[in-house]
Symmetry: C3
Subunit: 354 residues, 3 copies
């Protein structure tokens, strides 16, 4: 890995350098583990005491932590964002040499700058972007459009006709464009498949985690807008639309025809039911179920706490009887109100008597 | 796409045609998007106002909506089912030419009518059905039986000895026949694997969504009956049996040895625990946990609502104290009952006095 | 399958044999299904009546059930564990012949004892263990270390630089070492990727179920210790550590930087949030959400019961109003306390009067 001097870092990325401008760094690391040729960061001044023992060559931090830093530092308003940029610089993506592996089966033209891995299959009429890298075992259907600089890791499957934007990063096991779950029911209960004739359209700068699935639309398209980040094992149903720069953590499920706004975040394991709309800038907490549209920005939660098993047994058994609990409270309120009236009346009587 | 005249449609599929019998349609579309050579549907008369502005060439609808339809229509008792059949007609499945791709590694006889994609691996002693289509990258174990007209999309894995029925549609990333999760525990806590010697037996007309997994049985077989439809990312544990024509939405998990009846539906993200039985015609709502057998048909739910974060914080903190809440209600009831008795007694006294 | 005599079984595995020592068994089976050349087990004396009708050649059971057994039996303190060992003996793993399939693309040395399947891709600088078996379609990145006797089923993906221990069993569709979900946010809401420069380190004797994903660490490694068993469709976030001999059922999600102790069990569908620590010997029930560290061994639960839909509608609507319910109980308690005081005072008065 090449070394970079701290003055080169601030020259390119900005920020105020305090300390040895000529010091070279080669890698990023945590405050606990960083050595003299590594750079670390402190995003939250709350953890400032971690600075005392660091052996890092330099630390990226905010103004508030400067005095507590025993080593060179770069001061930034957004230390974590700054750290991300330094980390990207020091860790350029490992690019395989361009060319088509001899075991690949390719029926579409491939730009000279692209790299097509072993055993890749690309159908007819596909458009493969410049400098795109398609890992071993990927299957790209006919008519797929793949943007420039897209990176598909090994064993990704993209069905016919899907569009993927520039600079996409798609991890292994992802399936894009499988049929949505659409059936009409016959009177005796069996199911007749609705052909899924929509497609999947994915914008630029989208990252998709391992084993995530995005179904094609039934009649129209499933749409993932620019800058969306999807973690692993997410299920996106047909006709869903996810707005720009939204980020969804692992194991989220989004049912058909749901619409998420832009800049939303969804915590891990959350479930969003179908045919509803979520506004821009909504944050859904982890393990939360969304059953209705959310028209206003904000944070929404529904996670259920856990506790020691015996306590849980006692407490959660009441969930099946909340309505009768509410009834009993209402009854108590009515009875008590009557008693209070009587008591009031008798104390009035008592006052009148003398 | 070939055009079909409306009178040809009703000749083949039934229904009553109102309007221009000679009009040709080429595709299905939504009421909002359909153009003059497309056919749409209205399943629910509640949305009848959508008819007014449609530019569709024809609409499939029920008797109740005929008068509101400004264009040609086909009247059917079940418009959505009718629409499914028209959509299938207009969108025949794209069939690759028969033959075995030169990069496939095949150790079993392949019928001439079958199509085996690039890089496919088929083990020994497998039986591959007529006209079956196996997409690129699929791995079919030894002794697998695959029914006629089965369609395996790319990168499906089927372990040794599994049986798949006729007309199966299996999407990419599906894994059928991996070992069930069975271990015996040693005294010091480590685990000894129980060999999973059962298989997976899947009936006819089953569709399985992307990245769904169905484990082989421990001692007996895991069984998916005819007509079952599984969405994406479903986990089916060992020894599970799913009855005919049941349909399970995405991200459902079914633990080992659970049995679902026929014609059940299970909403997305639901979890069904192991070693229990669910009757025929049971509907499990989305995000519901089933912990006990369900002996009677009906709909069962357990989804937890979400709300604005601050309200959630206040409300759900009480979940850990429901039992003491119940105790306090009981105490109030007892105290109030005593007060009421006393009050009754004193008012009886008061009545007697004069 | 070779036959084994009962006296050979106890000679190798211990236990007390009662009955025909020369009887041969060929396979394991359930009590209901076993025939005369099969051996079964009874782990729980509660189900002792199943013994009466068994046609098994022999049964493995505990002392308590000996008298109820109509056929030969092997007495063991831990019948299920004993059964596991017999089942393993009778069902040796089917080992493909060593060698590299001609369609594999291999850039690292392969030991002669290893078996590399069709279409496998192995990058440079990998170390492949003796007698390891890599199924068709697997993609092994550069620099990967794979232990001796590891078994990778078809279509497994391992990213560059990951370490897998000896005797690993990894099922199809597993993805190990994909990037963790790490991004810094820019002011206008878009995301900047944090390069994930850690790796995944997996100990010996680990089994990983189909379509499970284990992300690589951000700065340090994601670690799965010896003897861990992971079921299907589990998501393990970056920097997670799972202690030795822990077992996690299907569909569990573990967010980044969570730490599980040794010998933990986690039920299906449970979700463990990030940046928390769980002690050794903790059992998390199925469908439970863990939001805080658990410092003490024990069982923890949070699963929500389901019920018939109409009852659920009535009961769970109160979840959004638990706090006002608690307020009303507090109000009732205060009012009642005042009434009781007044009543007490007046009865004191009454006592004084005469």
């Amino acid at each position: 890995m090449a070394a970079v001097r701290l003055d080169e870092v601030v020259a390119r990325l900005g920020g105020r350098l305090i300390g040895d401008a000529g010091r070279s760094i080669r890698q990023v690391a945590t405050l606990e583990r960083a050595g003299p040729d590594e750079i670390s960061f402190l995003a939250n001044p709350k953890y400032q005491e971690k600075l005392f023992a660091t052996r890092a060559g330099a630390v990226i931090l905010s103004e508030a932590s400067v005095d507590a830093c025993p080593v060179a530092c770069i001061v930034s308003d957004q230390p974590y964002l700054y750290f991300a940029r330094v980390a990207q610089w020091l860790n350029p993506v490992n690019t395989p040499p361009p060319g088509v592996h001899p075991t690949a089966s390719v029926e579409s033209p491939i730009p000279e700058s692209a790299s097509i891995g072993a055993g890749v299959r690309i159908g007819p009429d596909a458009v493969i972007g410049a400098r795109s890298r398609i890992g071993p075992g990927c299957v790209i259907g006919g008519g797929v459009v793949l943007g420039d600089d897209a990176l598909l890791h090994a064993n990704v499957t993209i069905y016919d006709g899907c569009h993927i934007g520039a600079r996409a990063i798609i991890h292994s096991g992802v399936v894009i464009g499988a049929d949505g779950f659409g059936f009409a029911r016959e009177q005796h209960g069996s199911w007749v498949k609705i052909p899924q004739i929509g497609s999947v359209v994915i914008g630029d700068d989208v990252e998709i985690g391992a084993n995530t699935t995005i179904d094609r639309g039934a009649l129209e398209d499933t749409v993932i807008e620019n800058g969306v980040k999807l973690d692993n094992q997410i299920q996106v149903g047909h006709n869903v639309r996810i707005g720009a720069d939204s980020a969804l953590a692992g194991c989220v499920g989004i049912a058909g025809s749901a619409r998420l706004g832009s800049r939303c975040t969804v915590g891990g394991g959350a479930v969003i039911l179908g045919h509803l709309s979520i506004a821009d800038d909504v944050n859904i907490s982890a393990a939360t179920l969304v059953t209705k549209s959310i028209p206003d920005a904000g944070t929404y939660s529904g996670a259920v706490p856990s506790q020691e098993h015996a306590a849980w047994l006692k407490n959660f058994s009441h969930l099946r009887h909340l309505d009768s609990m509410a009834d009993r409270i209402r009854t108590l309120e009515a009875q008590l109100a009557r008693l209070l009236e009587i008591q009031q009346a008798s104390s009035n009587d008592a006052e009148k008597k003398p």
